[in-house]
Symmetry: C2
Subunit: 354 residues, 2 copies
């Protein structure tokens, strides 16, 4: 079967010919429909993130997949059921307390593999196998958009964790700001539009731009961070109750505190490299304390977040999901899916369709 991977000494995705995998007991065989490409894939290809499976000279890419059950193999799934796989797996078939609790997203580094990212092959192949416990059923109508389930699950977790921090008091948020106008930022913006009276989305692009068009269409306000830094948002617009950071731009963690309204919460999701810079650490500390602010970091997601994401995506307008997918590449020519230009929002590799 065809697969897209990266070799240990490589710096770009290559087409591989591999054996079709055979499901073990408890696993189903899945025929892949589509696999999304995101920033993590680019980091994996560039060597900045992740690691190859032991003893392999390559890793199959891809962690945002949707497929159909080809062989249920006694797992209880029906043949033809559309499914999305989760990403974290137990290393070497072992288990640990986090996986036993159904919370692999809370496992510390070294206690998990991530398919297509760390230690295990990903889903960018004609077929993959997965334990049934790590497959989430998706309605057939969502087959085309199922690759968004994994990224949206990341936001489901971030929102759950962030909002839980405000549970001890009566939080009445009105405004939210998304830092980052990639596909996940835009999907999150739509999600936050359902909950907040006013939303903002921060990018660094000139009009005309397809992401700014989506921000406009959603009724949100675009903020160009080259003109208005994140810590200047209160002066230029308003201080916001919720900040969702998806840029990986390290100064944003500190600027988020200044952008927040009293009693606000900021969710950090980006993964920057080390970077020394000066801050007013006294005012930062003071501002967090005197206004009961909170900064929460969140990574990955678990199966209930995937289930929530399926529900969320079922309510999303098709125009948005269609507009987000700017490239559909064939496995035999994936280069367009790995190009990073301003017209690209979400690229997918399509192996098959329903």
């Amino acid at each position: 079967m065809k697969a897209i991977g990266v070799r240990r000494d490589g710096d770009h995705p290559v087409l591989l010919e591999k054996e079709r995998p055979t499901p073990e007991k408890g696993e189903a065989l899945v025929r892949t429909l589509r696999v999304g490409v995101d920033g993590t894939d680019h980091e994996v290809i560039g060597g900045a993130h992740g690691g190859y499976p032991d003893g392999e000279d390559h890793m199959v890419l891809g962690h945002e997949a949707v497929g159909v059950i080809e062989k249920p193999n006694g797992t209880g799934f029906d043949e033809g059921q559309v499914v999305v796989p989760t990403v974290r797996r137990k290393p070497n078939g072992e288990t640990n307390e986090y996986f036993r609790r159904g919370e692999p997203d809370m496992a510390p580094e070294g206690e998990y593999f991530e398919r297509g990212i760390v230690g295990e092959h990903g889903y960018m192949a004609e077929y993959f196998t997965s334990p049934a416990d790590f497959l989430v059923p998706v309605p057939a109508e969502l087959a085309e958009y199922g690759l968004f389930v994994e990224p949206v699950s990341i936001t489901e977790k971030a929102n759950e964790h962030a909002f839980s921090t405000r549970e001890p008091f009566e939080w009445r948020p009105e405004s939210a700001c998304v830092l980052g106008n990639g596909s996940l930022g835009l999907l999150t913006l739509w999600m936050l539009q359902q909950k907040f009276d006013r939303t903002y989305c921060v990018g660094r692009r000139d009009r005309p731009d397809p992401t700014i068009e989506i921000i406009d269409e959603l009724g949100s306000t675009y903020i160009d961070s080259r003109e208005t830094a994140v810590d200047e948002i209160p002066e230029a617009h308003e201080s916001v109750d919720y900040v969702y950071e998806a840029t990986g731009f390290a100064p944003h963690s500190v600027q988020t505190v200044q952008a927040l309204a009293p009693n606000g919460v900021g969710a950090l999701l980006g993964i920057p490299e080390p970077w020394d810079f000066e801050i007013d650490g006294g005012s930062l500390h003071n501002e967090i304390v005197l206004h009961n602010k909170c900064l929460i970091g969140t990574v990955n997601s678990h199966i209930t977040h995937f289930e929530d994401a399926v529900e969320t995506l079922s309510a999303a307008p098709n125009w948005l999901l269609d507009d987000l997918i700017t490239t559909v590449a064939e496995p035999t020519d994936v280069a367009p899916a790995f190009e990073n230009d301003d017209d690209q929002i979400k690229a997918v590799v399509e192996f098959d369709s329903l």
Copy 2:
């Protein structure tokens, strides 16, 4: 009546002779027993924090008070009931949504006064009045120690807010570290000893020292931050699940993230002045995200936290509360209560006893 205050142009507490206050409708008259002195009082005296009541040339100090009902004035309290007053009040007798919800601790700056700190006289006087809604009944056995109810309520809120951030997953914390060995740090250390398997307390003192003796007696581990910086705690001891910061030392906000174990939470309570310094902002951001960490700021407390604090203090060993109170000063000679030397843990001004 005698009162201890600070004049607008003053830099030390002075004995004042004032009219005994008359309770308005809904208010009780309280005869003061004891009032504690804390770091905020020193900041108020030094002019770094707070502000004088409008039109007054002085402010009566004190926000950690315990007293007895002298005149119930139709409030439903019994004469002789021991009570502790909360601190935040509505400005100018007005109300706002935070007070209406019983959460004045979540009101932003400008939306509250604080008795003895911002805009309203404090409790360091022979008598004070307070709306009955802001008085918490305390068992007579706690009369001597009732001045600890307010500070402990601050920790009750901090713990509630911090632990709620870990509600979305199964958090199994084992270790906690208190930054700061003042009276609140030591009381908090005792509280955390009840919940965590292992605790640490960070100070910058040489043995022999009365606070380190208490840390030893509690079975906790003393860490001298001159030898082991907060971000070196994981290497020297272990990474900890909970950090409670009560130093106001600005670098501690950043170092706390490094001291935390994966999925840990840090509560910040100190209020530092502006202070520029360099940090590795990339690694800070990265560490918060990849290990699901959380930093939460918390200030003040509301009436349910005071009620929780009464319960907590009822269970505290008397030796601890006795050892914490190192100075009991007379209103006519309060200077010893405002001295800040290494033998001082908690100073109180005593107006009367039961």
